[in-house]
Structure formats: C-alpha cells, structure tokens
C-alpha cells in the first residue's frame, strides 16, 4: 500500500471520524490484577495495555541496589499476537529503548529516596497494539504506581501528536502513524513539565510548537481520566481515612 492510496481526511474528519484535535476513546480500570501491588488496564482506541507494579521490594541481583534510593525498573513488552504480523516473543531493540524512555518518563515523580536499597518494578504488557502503545503503557503504569501506593510528586500523563496530510493531529491511529509525516509522543506532569519527548518524521519549528501544544492538551485530558479512575476506586476509602485521622 502506498501513501497516496490513503486519504486521511473526509469532510474534515479523520479515518475513524475524529476531529484533528480529538483523542480516541479511553477506558481506564484500576486494580485489575490480584497478585500485583498495583495494576491498571487501559484501552486507548485499539490499544489494550495492562500494567503491574511490584514493590518496593528487595533488589535481585543485589549489586544493582542503591544505598540512597530505590531503583526503578520498567519492562515494556509486546505480546506476539498484539500486531498484524506475529512479533517474535521477547525483548528487541525497540522495546529496550521504549523501556528506557518510559522509565525515565516516570522516575522524575517517584519519590525513590523513601525506599533505599529496594526496587520498584513496573511491567507493561501490550496485548493489542494500534499506534501509541508507549503512551498507553506510561498512562497505565502511572496509575498502577498510584494504585500500589508508591509516593509520587504527581501523576504522569502521556499522549502523542502527529502530522498527516500536512495537518497536525492528536493521538494518531495505526494508519496515520504508518503513513503519516511525523510522530511526537510526550509525557508530562499535570503542571506541564515534560518527562518524555521523542520525535520522528518531519516538522518545521512552527509545526513542532503546534504539535507539542496539542499533545500537552491531550495529556491534560488523559490526566483527568486517570484521576477519575483512581477516585472511583479510592474515593470512598479516602473519606474513611480522613475520619480516622480526625480521631487521632
């Protein structure tokens, strides 16, 4: 299939009927795994991603431990059946890189100094992929960290912007990613500090500004959904904790 075979816009709307600045539907569920200390399942459009957090726990191998803080490990893994053509199981170079940048997207907000000599493990499994798996993974991982009760300075929300048919679009889907002109995934705090930034394709400096702003707006909307999902699970518990505190 060639780029010219696809028209990305019809009557100003995208292939799946979205406006240029519209996110795909998102569903977030907190605490979906029994064994994990924290977990989260997320659907972002056609992406289905599950994240689990274990820890803080003892570091193995022990030489990896840090005296003053916890280390954070992040494993991004794609199921072999998650993509059109079967992916060979196990880590490849892409997943090593994504694991690294995703970990670095979350580390700035994790208060690792509370847990010296321990590890916080984040495992992300992509069950179904449809462009934007790293951003979905980070969104799920951030919620799973909160679900595990890991102290964090803030939430992290992640979203991509792209360029298709010379138009900047939010949250590109598979076709737009494959045949588009640029992809720019970011992650950020609700305060607007950027913790992940990658780009490939071609953007003029002006388009780049526009794309960053659009992705940031998307991330802000996702933050509200992450927050709502956590409040749904913990809202009631939170109220009872306040009562206990009042008694003390």
């Amino acid at each position: 299939m060639d780029k010219s075979d696809i028209s990305f816009f019809k009557d100003g709307l995208r292939l799946d009927g979205r406006r240029a600045d519209q996110l795909r539907p998102i569903r977030i569920e907190v605490g979906v795994l029994a064994r994990a200390d924290g977990s989260c399942y997320i659907e972002m459009g056609g992406n289905k991603v599950i994240a689990a957090v274990y820890g803080p726990r003892e570091v193995h191998p022990r030489h990896l431990q840090e005296v003053t803080r916890a280390i954070v490990r992040y494993r991004y893994n794609m199921a072999s059946f998650s993509v059109e053509e079967r992916k060979r199981p196990g880590p490849d170079r892409r997943s090593y890189e994504l694991s690294k940048v995703s970990r670095e997207a979350l580390e700035p907000v994790i208060m690792t100094s509370y847990f010296p000599r321990s590890v916080i493990d984040v495992f992300v499994e992509v069950l179904q992929a449809d462009a934007g798996t790293r951003t979905a993974g980070i969104n799920a991982a951030a919620v799973a960290l909160a679900d595990a009760g890991i102290p964090m300075k803030s939430m992290i929300s992640s979203c991509a912007a792209g360029k298709v048919a010379d138009t900047i679009v939010l949250d590109p889907m598979k076709e737009e990613d494959n045949f588009g002109q640029a992809d720019l995934p970011i992650a950020m705090t609700p305060g607007g500090d950027i913790t992940l930034m990658q780009m490939d394709g071609g953007l003029s400096p002006d388009e780049f500004h526009q794309a960053v702003e659009m992705a940031m707006k998307g991330a802000r909307d996702i933050y509200e959904m992450q927050r709502a999902a956590l409040v749904e699970k913990y809202g009631k518990i939170e109220a009872s904790t306040i009562e206990v505190n009042a008694c003390e």
Binding site: E97, P108, I194, M197, M199
Partner: protein, 258 residues
Amino acid sequence: MSSVISEIRKDFIYNLLLKGERVDGRTFDQYRDISIERDVIRKAEGSALVKLGSSQVLVGIKMQPGEPFQDTPNRGVIITNAELVPLASPNFEPGPPNEVGIELARVVDRGVRESKAVDLEALCIVPGKQVWIIFIDVHILDDCGNILDAASLGAIAALLSTKVPASRFGLGEDYMLPLNDIPVATTAIEFGDVLMFDPGVDEESIANTKLTVITTAKGEICGMQKSGKGLLKPEQIYRIVDIACEKAREIREKFLEA
C-alpha cells in the same frame, strides 16, 4: 550517563555555572572543536573518524546485497549498530549492547532514516528479491561526552563518502552513494535551569536530562529524543530547538557540505 564523579567536582561545576561559566571555558551553547576525517578505513565502503573535543567516534559503512523486508520489497535496508567498547570508558563493560548503546544506535538511525538522506528505493536491485543493505556501525573509541552527536556526525560523514561496491558483487561499476539530505544531531543538557550544548563527560554525569534534536538541511526537525530521568519545561524545549537548528546549520555548512 552514570559516571564516577566526586561530589566536590559536582559542586565545582555547579558553582562555575552560577557564574555563567563552564569547566573548559566554553559558553553554554558553544561546541567543542570538531574534526572529521573521512575514508580512514580502506576496507569499509565509507568511514569517518569524528573528534568532538576529546571524544572520538569511528563510523564504518559496509554494504552488501541481500533480501528486502517483506513489507518493503522495493527498498534497500539500513541497519545501525553501536558498540560501546570497554576501551572507550571506565563505565563501559564488555558484553551485548545495553540500553544506552541501543538508544544511541536507534537515535543515530532515526536521523539517517527520518531525514530520508538515503534514497532507499534507489537501492533496489531486483524488486522483492535483492536490495542493498547498508550497515552503519558506530564504534565509540573515547567517551569524553556527547558521543551521540559525534556518532550522528560520523554516520552522515561516512555515508557521504560511501562508494557502493557494485563490482565486488558483479553488479556493474562502483558508484558513490547518492544522498538527499544531511541530518545533524545537536544535544543539550539541563542542569540547574541552565541549558548546556555539547556536554562534556562530567557535565553529562551531573545532568538529569538530555535532549537531542536532529534537523535537516531545510531546517526541519526530523528526530528528537529526551533522555535521562529529569524533566524539561516546554519553554526550555523550544529554546533548545531554536539553538539546535542554528548550531546544526553551522556544523553542516562547515564540515559536511563540501
């Protein structure tokens, strides 16, 4: 980015920075001296030894005919690999590439690929059967900081001097590899609210965050990578992009456009 650096040295760098100075007397957006020597390896199809200050990176290009990927039957293949050999730094260990090496190779690859510097369709020999495979192998020799920019520079410089070895494989006469663009990567670190370009190894090890911006000859951005467990404000990113475009143009004009 881990490196053995004493707290004292860290303080020293930080105190200098407060006075607006850097360890080696550079301004914050000043690059170290660059030298590029091409065709240093006769056995390779193209090669370049890049010195960025004391950092040294050797990039060799090898080409051979092979099978195309199934989904791109009419296009040549680029494979980029980086070796962070233990000779280059006390922090490098022997063994398979770790995530730092993989990230480095993938960002170098991103620059070459996304700028469309190499016309992959021109590298098709028999559609669906045989295409040219370009191996870009990055060998870090001395890590005195910012080996990513040096490696990217080495990759494009080596490609610019690459001769397609057609005669060796009975495919006609050798010819120079045609290139459509000259991508240049520029990297800055953020430390104490200051942005420093082309960080030295000590500067790199104290910084939390690094941002690499790859730009094309037309001044477009074709690749980006934030690295490190820190955060950046959007204004800082925009500033890095502005300066990066300018620096990349200078470097391209001076060292790559002959």
